[in-house]
Symmetry: C2
Subunit: 459 residues, 2 copies
């Protein structure tokens, strides 16, 4: 294996778009979570699929690790070059290639970000609904099977990708899926690549489903005396079949963070942030049905808005949860947990998280895409404080075990990366063997994001 050999072979081909400058390497080795920095040996900025293939072929020849990099906002270190090698920065492959309005889909390069896409779609009456907190790249969102606040209505990246182009570990370029809305032709390579975190292939093009912008949109916030009341309201709402566009839990501690970061004045109690979409009469009907359930669950302080700017402020505040969390225990890092459980077990999971955080003396505000049974604790921590990190470790371990005991998953939308590998065996059991078999068949030289997703071990 020779990282230097790969870099030496590629430098003449890519010129300035291969950088070994320390600042560039450091930028690509940083992360927003609690992981130690892990800079690559070189950063390459490809502009075409063919260039990606050229890089992969050289990496295959020299046994050099290659890690795709979108916007660097992954929360489980998927983008870090923990074994060195090449970081493949996809930000120059950022074109919206074709908007197919008639077929409600769009073809994009992987470096397009979700906000850029919706900006470019503005005139079409269509939008792409998947919205993780960060303004992530769509390639990265596909690779980590991301979701966000609208998954309760539209699904995650899993449900919203029609077709992919990818470069495989031998440098070959494949296309998966088709432009048709459904197909029963062959093995589902599209879904195999979604969530594979760059370990099976590098996504170089995506065909994404689009949605029509609803005729009417209404957002609201309301508050509860306890988290349990708020979660029970969510459970009843989902079970009643109201087609919620968004239903987000924000606990009292997180409200405090939002108030500090966004300058809002919400009472520091558990809140639900809501959105209803559809026809004007449909929205009114949904809001009334929800209002009835919420009132029974003890909701008060409803604030409604139909104004676009106010709605945008509300969801911007929600998407800035990561930064709001940082106001609560300044000077520390945030480890975001990400369990997802069956909706009927959500109250049990959230209450466990709250009581365990209190018991362990941790600052861990909660936000959650609770309509899907998914919630995050933003655990403030200092990676240099081993005693605190031990308590954080105990907390995340209890949460993971709780999620698995309740029939859920250790990762709702952040992926596995480095941090969750230790739960792969517990969550997947004998299925893990077949994941290893796929990795071995697709990337026998283990050059694609080595050391991620799969825990150490042999086939």
């Amino acid at each position: 294996m020779s990282i230097d050999g790969a870099i030496a072979a590629l430098k003449p081909v890519l010129g300035d778009r291969l950088s070994t400058a320390q600042a560039i390497r450091d930028q690509h080795g940083a992360n927003e979570s609690h992981f130690a920095p892990a800079p690559p040996d070189a950063v390459i900025f490809p502009e075409t699929t063919e260039e990606v293939a050229t890089v992969i072929r050289a990496c295959a020849e020299h046994g050099c690790p290659v890690v795709a990099w979108g916007t660097g906002t992954a929360l489980e270190a998927q983008h870090l070059a923990t074994q060195g090698g090449i970081s493949l920065d996809m930000s120059r492959m950022n074109k919206v290639l074709e908007v197919r309005g008639e077929d409600l889909n769009v073809v994009v390069q992987p470096g397009v970000t979700r906000e850029q896409l919706n900006e470019e779609l503005r005139a079409t009456g269509l939008f792409f609904p998947i919205d993780p907190g960060a303004n992530a790249s769509l390639g990265g969102m596909a690779a980590t099977r991301a979701s966000g606040t609208m998954a309760v209505k539209y699904g995650t990246m899993r449900e919203n990708i029609l077709a992919l182009e990818a470069v495989m570990a031998d440098g070959s370029v494949i296309r998966t899926g088709s432009q048709a809305r459904k197909s029963s032709s062959g093995y589902d390579l599209t879904h195999l690549l979604i969530g594979s975190e760059g370990t099976l292939g590098i996504i170089t093009e995506l065909t994404l489903k689009l949605q029509g912008i609803p005729e009417a949109i209404s957002a609201a916030t309301c508050r509860f005396e306890s988290v349990e009341d708020a979660v029970n309201c969510v459970i009843l709402t989902i079970q009643s079949g109201i087609p919620m566009a968004r239903i987000e839990l924000v606990d009292g501690m997180m409200v405090k963070g939002f108030n500090a970061f966004a300058g809002s004045d919400l009472p520091e109690k558990p809140h639900l942030f809501l959105e209803f979409t559809g026809s004007p009469s449909g929205v009114a009907e949904q809001a009334e049905l929800f209002g009835g359930i919420a009132e029974e669950c003890g909701a008060t302080g409803f604030r409604w808005t139909e104004k676009t700017e106010e709605r945008n402020e509300l969801w911007k505040m929600r998407h800035n949860g990561h930064f709001a969390t940082a106001t609560l225990d300044p000077g520390k890092r945030t480890l975001a947990t990400d369990v997802c459980v069956p909706i009927s077990r959500l109250a049990e999971a959230v209450l466990t998280a709250q009581s365990e955080a209190a018991r362990l003396g941790l600052t861990a505000p909660i936000v959650g895409h609770v309509g899907d049974g998914n919630f995050h604790c933003g655990v403030r921590c200092d990676p240099a404080d081993p005693e605190e990190m031990a308590r954080v470790g105990e907390f995340t371990h209890i949460l993971a075990e709780t999620a698995l005991r309740l029939g859920g998953t250790v990762s709702g939308e952040h992926g596995i990366g480095l941090g969750k590998q230790k739960y792969m065996q517990a969550e997947h059991g004998p299925a893990l063997h077949w994941m290893r078999a796929i990795k071995a068949a697709f990337d026998p030289g283990n050059i694609l994001n080595p050391g991620k997703l799969l825990p150490p071990g042999n086939l």
Copy 2:
């Protein structure tokens, strides 16, 4: 390789539930389409996952082909033992194991049929929406990535399975997915098994998403002067975002078949069969929006019904399309085509099908899940007439090439099986290599439904 060895090893274990009787073998070697019969050497009726594992282990040891059999209604011969061996009849694994109403899902064994499931769900207010024409088994529907009339609203089997249990080629039992509504944990083995046609593993348990029975349901039929008008109405309806529950095309020739088989009296012109679901006001709103579009496209003769029995009659008629087709050119078999194209290209595809059938002198009535861009021609043919079969071959080839040229797929919902293998290279190109890599890694002895899905060729 020794089929006899496997049968001899398994007979003492399974007793009466391993049959080599000619009648049983013939039953499991028959098909509803145009393929030659292909009986297995033995039929086994397992009752537990452990028994399936025992069978697979013996087959692995002796190199004996093993083919899962649900209800024998596959249209591309997926269930036929074309290389002999063992047919694994899953009909005794037919229990609904657990209805989790609070989480809107259900755990079933693979031999449960879709009608049985909905019968057992009747008291719960929930239902499972995927409805291929036949009363197929849910294991078979998963294995072939089936869909039906409601996919336009609820998606296909691809979107409606949360978790699977499967026996792999080495006899190991795995569980994929979880009970949570979403997950970003590991490679998506659930979707890899869905549509794999029993070539990667045998599905022994499924966790399926359920839907609430809508408060209001309204069905309708209307007719058009031309297929083009009907299809344009569909395209505009889908593009307008009306959340259709069903929108099915029936051409004039197929209406003739329905009238003959079901005793209906519809004018022999192209029809759309429609269903709207939601709240009473939502249904009224959708129906009005659709009515406006349909009128602009020249629709006449609207017949509406809110009565359950009349609706059931309508959809029963639609689901019996296979038998209605058989009335049109008696004494022949039906080859069902199954292309799916982007909705914007649907008119071009349907008109090509009609004109080519006429040019080739074939009886080929059309029905279609046109909201998805998917339609079927029920080509009547006599497998013993080589001249006719040559014309049928030309017709299906033109349809497949048209679908691929328009960005679609050769198989919307019937799978690949035997009949569509010849298009796998054209549809998937270099991606086919990676499908072969998965098969080689998962089933190195090639015992699981050998000769299906993948065309002949090496890795």
